[in-house]
Amino acid sequence: MSILTLCTASSEEIPPVSLEALAAARNLSDQLGGGDVQTLLVGSGVADHASALIHRGADSVFVVDDPKLEDHQAELILGTVEQAVDQLSPDVVVFPHDHLSGGHVAPRLARRLKTGIVTDCTGLEVRDGNIRWLRPVYGGKAVAYMIATGPVQMATMRALAFEPLEPDASREGVVETLDINLDALSAQVPVVDQIVEEDEFAGRSIDRADIIVSGGRGMGDEEGFENVKKLAEALDAAIGGSRPAADSGWVPHSHLVGQTGKIVAPQLYIAIGISGAPQHMSGAGSSKTIVAINKDEDAPIFKAAHVGVVEEWENIIPTLIEELKKE
């Protein structure tokens, strides 16, 4: 049994989500009672990452290092992975569920390989010889075990679902360069520009943040939402929002927490004026500690929170900020 994972890296770093997918593959190999974990390392100037991937759990690393892969154009990554799968014939393919590989390359590859795929998984188990992929369904109101059959079993793993393995410098493995024909591939949908967010939200991104302060409909209006930002600043935390806050334009959609936004798992999640609808909790539910501040003691958020304060936020936030500044 061989399990192939994908790591699309830059020359500077291996994205954490690739290490998490690698940890998932290692976990699967352990459950299957053995299995070769292979990682396809793709990018430009990335070959040096191979040993780090072995230290993090790969048995072998296949490197495709080419300047053409510098900016990770989807079409080129797809063609590269397709040729790699053809050469390596893995039994299982585990991709990270980021917007490039999980949301785009993996499904198209599954269609090309005419094989089953389960996307955005949060766990896995082996039962009766089948790999059962765990994933939330119906906006997080239910969870399902799904099975993908076909010539290759494919799955994509949600960020933060598995913890990267601690690097073990004594692990040994094989590093090989893979010969891929990139000449036949062209970017049909190239990225022609990037617009970097430059406002008060820059630097307060919710991606992989340790602390997130989120506000919802209960903040009332844009001015009310300012209090969420002030509290986030006092805590040096990220700023999040629920769907009503994002749709009202109080917070950019890139800061939306929930099923239609981002899935987060910070150490501390402070939800203010958020009722706790399933669509929101499916994004915030994996937080280690959830603190809810809401004036309505019957709000569903109090069923999911670890710490609750039943109070109008107007009576809380000014003192909170004052106390936090005291240190």
Binding site: H104, R108, K114, V143, M146, V189, V192, Q194, I211, I316
Partner: protein, 266 residues
């Protein structure tokens, strides 16, 4: 430009958790008396299609698979401003998986023929695998962009805006192409007007069957591959909550800060 939206209808996702039930035999949500609605990403895709129609003085079509229950959602799409609605239905289509659905939609798009842009929601509101859009792009051999929030015409091509962590990426492609759509501040769906709703009820909605699409129903889906539901359940979520008390809001705030410091959370 002619934009075709592949719409999926789902059981209203706003159904509160205590009314949400799973049928363990069928391994899906119990429909009960819950209303069916346009899936939230489909609705956003309709909004993007209408904006593109306005920017290019073009046309928008909505295409869906389903029985007569889907007509209400098609009326709503028409009332929002879509020019044409088409319904695909056949008893043989009922259990089609993502491979089968993409195949059926591809046949319908071949029949429509004169499209420039095909839009799908980035994922449906039920099982949410997010496969049909990319599968359809592969079936139709179209350039594919995923998780797009906005589309603008640009010198005979289109420029698409994709939200990413640091802001936005702008992608460019030549039609015909397929994009899967996500929500952002630029595409909050418009409301259907009452007048639009009245007109929509009088609109003729063509119904296409497997025969109309020239689909061999014995060949639906891929015999080689399956995506199967093995078990589905509602997770137990029982969290012990600690309520922070206090005489006044200020007291509660101080107690909360103390608690978070004691726990080493801040």
């Amino acid at each position: 430009m002619h934009t075709v939206v592949c719409m999926k209808q789902v059981i209203d996702p706003e159904v509160p958790p205590h009314l949400f039930e799973i049928d363990p035999e069928e391994m899906k949500q119990v429909r009960g008396t819950h209303p069916l609605v346009i899936g939230q990403y489909s609705e956003v895709a309709i909004e993007v299609a209408l904006q593109l129609k306005e920017k290019t003085d073009g046309k928008a079509t909505v295409l869906t698979m389903g029985d007569e229950d889907t007509v209400e959602s098609l009326h709503q799409a028409l009332a929002m401003g879509v020019d044409q609605a088409i319904r695909i239905t056949d008893p043989a289509f009922e259990d089609a998986d993502a491979f089968g659905r993409a195949h059926i939609l591809a046949a319908a798009l071949h029949k429509i023929e004169d499209f420039d842009v095909v839009l799908c929601g980035r994922q449906a509101g039920d099982i949410e695998l997010g496969l049909v859009g990319p599968f359809l792009a592969e079936e139709l051999e179209l350039p594919c962009a995923t998780i797009i929030a906005n589309i603008d015409p640009h010198n005979g091509k289109v420029r698409m805006r994709r939200p990413v962590d640091i802001g936005y990426e702008i992608l460019e492609a030549s039609p015909p192409l397929l994009a899967t759509i996500t929500n952002d501040e630029s595409n909050v769906p418009r409301y259907a007007s009452v007048r639009g709703m009245l007109a929509a009820r009088r609109a003729e909605i063509p119904v296409w069957s497997a025969d109309d699409l020239g689909i061999d129903t014995s060949q639906l889906g891929l015999s080689s591959a399956q995506i199967m539901m093995d078990e589905i359940f509602i997770p137990e979520t029982h969290v012990e909550i600690e309520i922070i008390g206090g005489e006044t809001g200020a007291n509660k705030a101080r107690n909360l800060v103390d608690h978070l410091r004691e726990e080493g959370l801040i």
